[in-house]
């Protein structure tokens, strides 16, 4: 028999007992204290410091790789003709997809009144921002000399009097991703305002008080302010919902609008959006499981959250599986010999093993999530989330590389091999992501304090 924080016993084995979204027995002060005390302490956990140092070290791989890239140009990468798009686009699509789960959790689940989203939305939104930052790096650095390339990416009056080509999906992508980054930042910051106000009034250190004081902008919790705040938050959620769906749709158009077999398919937008949410939820699980352990947040991020996220993964994973099946069907049913060759080559060509490995990671293994035993086994769930992360990266690799490396003429066939600079850049962005994430959980509340308060029974007004 387990006991609650207020020492009341609770029978967790009672039939029909479903883990609540917040462990019972908390009051307003305890919710604030539990989340704020992670930040407002001078004792830095050794584990936090250790992981931060490692992440920072890995981030320096990125610095080295990008530095050398700027000296030498994109020739240091494995790209060449016919594979002109390599790791840069693979990693871009992977990272931007990961970001999508954050917006889904904060916006779409808010509109659907899924109150379980409350304890995971803050760090999922942070994950979105940092993933978009990592993603955004690739289109910039893949130009080799980004300071010379700005004029065809961004519309600004320049001395050459030329403007970006707005009929190109690549420019749509620039607008979609930068809009997504800005709106995600606004959404995240808006959610933070009442929480940093709580930290401001709680902090003892004058520097911390000043820092949170500036960020909170003088928020005081007035009912008139809350009224407009809730309106703004709901409208932002409503705006972010079509936005997040549009972003990966536009990303998929980078491929689908071209006439390359394996890319030119109408299934791409929904299939990419589902894949994005799939990989994003995998990443949320990858982050949430160790964090709730390390910071003792199991009362707020309960097994119910993990179970629900596993179900979302299973659902979106099935849509992705349908996408793979449709692609294969298109290849055959099109009766186009280039299309049919492409799908055969994808499955049984030189990169065939990668295709089957991605099927294993994205379709076969996640089927175990049908079983409640698997969904409630936290270490296994963690492993599955890692498997899906790998699988989704492989998916993008297979889509990009196998469609390009067999050109229409056999004389133009080639192979793509990433170089050590490609790998350093890719791993480096993981270091950047982790560095930003660990800084975030050290200085800002990783769980939305004021939204957690609304889950308490004390917050229900009876009249």
């Amino acid at each position: 028999m387990a006991t609650l924080p207020d020492n009341r016993p609770v029978d967790l084995t009672r039939p029909g007992y479903s883990t609540p979204v917040i462990a019972p027995g908390y009051n307003l002060e305890q919710v604030t204290a539990k989340i704020a005390n992670v930040i407002l302490t001078t004792k830095i956990k050794l584990g936090w410091f250790g992981v931060f140092i490692i992440a920072f070290g890995i981030m320096n791989l990125l610095l080295g790789a990008v530095g050398y890239l700027f000296v030498k140009g994109t020739g240091i990468w494995g790209i060449n003709i016919p594979v002109g798009w390599g790791f840069a686009i693979v990693n871009f699509v992977w990272w931007i997809g990961i970001g999508h789960a954050g917006t889904l959790i904060s916006a779409i689940l808010l509109l659907l009144k899924q109150s379980w989203r409350t304890s995971i939305n803050r760090f999922a939104e942070a994950m979105t921002l940092f993933a978009v930052a990592c993603a955004g790096l690739f289109p910039l650095i893949h130009t080799g000399r980004p300071w010379l390339a700005a004029y065809w990416l961004f519309p600004y009056p320049n001395t050459m009097k030329v403007w970006p080509q707005f009929r190109s999906p690549l420019i749509w992508d620039v607008f979609a991703v930068s809009t997504y980054a800005i709106v995600s930042l606004l959404f995240w910051y808006t959610g933070l305002i009442p929480d940093v106000a709580a930290l401001r009034d709680r902090a003892k250190n004058p520097i911390a008080k000043l820092f949170y004081g500036i960020l909170s902008m003088g928020w005081r919790g007035s009912a008139r302010h809350w009224h407009r705040y809730e309106t703004a938050y709901l409208l932002l959620a409503g705006l972010s919902t079509p936005l997040v769906l549009s972003v990966h749709t536009v990303v998929s158009w980078d491929f689908a609008v071209s006439v390359v077999p394996g890319w030119h398919a109408t299934i791409f937008p929904p299939y990419f959006v589902a894949g994005a949410i799939y990989s994003g939820f995998a990443m949320v699980l990858t982050l949430a499981i160790p964090i709730r352990e390390a910071f003792n947040m199991k009362d707020f991020i309960t097994d119910r959250h993990l179970n629900n996220m596993a179900k979302v993964m299973l659902g979106t994973g099935m849509i992705v599986a349908y996408g793979y099946a449709t692609e294969a069907f298109f290849g055959w049913y099109s009766a186009n010999k280039f299309e049919f060759f492409m799908i055969q080559n994808r499955m049984f060509g030189p990169y065939g093993p990668m295709y089957w490995f991605l099927i294993l990671c994205n379709i076969a293994i996640p089927q175990s999530l049908w079983f409640k035993k698997v969904r409630s086994n936290v270490p296994v769930l963690f492993l599955i989330s890692l498997v899906v992360n790998v699988g989704m990266w492989l998916e993008r690799f297979v889509i990009v590389i196998t469609s390009l490396h067999r050109d229409f003429l056999p004389s133009s066939w080639g192979m793509y091999h990433p170089t050590k600079w490609d790998w350093m850049t890719f791993f480096g962005t993981m270091g950047l992501f982790m560095t930003l994430f660990f800084l975030f959980i050290r200085v800002l509340p990783m769980i939305a304090i004021f939204e957690m308060r609304t889950l308490l029974p004390q917050a229900k007004v009876k009249h």
Binding site: W163, F166, R202, G221, H227, L235, L236, L239
Partner: protein, 179 residues
């Protein structure tokens, strides 16, 4: 410069329920210039102390229209007037290709209007506000207590009367808030 006068009278309550009930009573008593403070949004307060519906949605709508017009205008002007370039035999004003960016700038304009509009209507950022002169509010206002404030600007406001009225509502504490 030393501030003069008082901002109003503030009462502390232990629960959200008590705050909403107190707000109703104060409204019935005829007070109109009131504000309530809580560590989380309480929808029932809007009606209890008579908060009018915000015009924010209209600002967001205007922001969206403006963003969309700017986005489409940029596309039209650059592709048709400033830098006409025929690509793939498409007409210069190939509007279907302009839709994605028009959509993105619409969302961008509306989102920025939502956040900036909300902050502007709330008068934020605001470096100083009298309610923070009450130490109890600083300690508990963003955490676990609920406050009702009758402003001195209320035509019916008399400090002593307001204080005794607040005390009659079973408030946990009543203070005069200096400006």
């Amino acid at each position: 410069m030393k501030p003069v006068g008082i901002h109003g009278v503030m009462a502390e309550f232990n629960t959200a329920d008590e705050l909403v009930a107190a707000g109703r009573r104060a409204y019935a008593e005829g007070y109109r210039r009131m504000d309530a403070y809580s560590p989380f949004p309480i929808e029932a307060l809007d009606e209890a102390i008579g908060i009018p519906h915000t015009i924010l949605p209209w600002i967001v709508f205007a922001g969206g229209i403006l963003g969309g017009a700017a986005g489409y205008g940029l596309e039209y002007w650059t592709q048709v007037i400033a830098y006409p370039l025929v690509i793939g035999g498409k007409p210069l004003h190939s509007w279907p290709n302009f839709i994605p960016i028009w959509f993105e700038t619409t969302v961008l304009g509306a989102s920025i209007a939502a956040v900036v509009g909300m902050l502007a209507l709330n008068g934020l950022p605001q470096p100083y506000h009298p309610v923070f002169n009450i130490q109890n509010f600083v300690d508990h206002g963003q955490n676990d207590r609920f406050y009702l404030l009758i402003e001195a600007k209320d035509p019916k406001f008399k400090s002593a009367e307001a204080q005794s009225f607040m005390t009659s509502l079973n408030a946990a504490g009543v203070w005069e808030v200096p400006n």
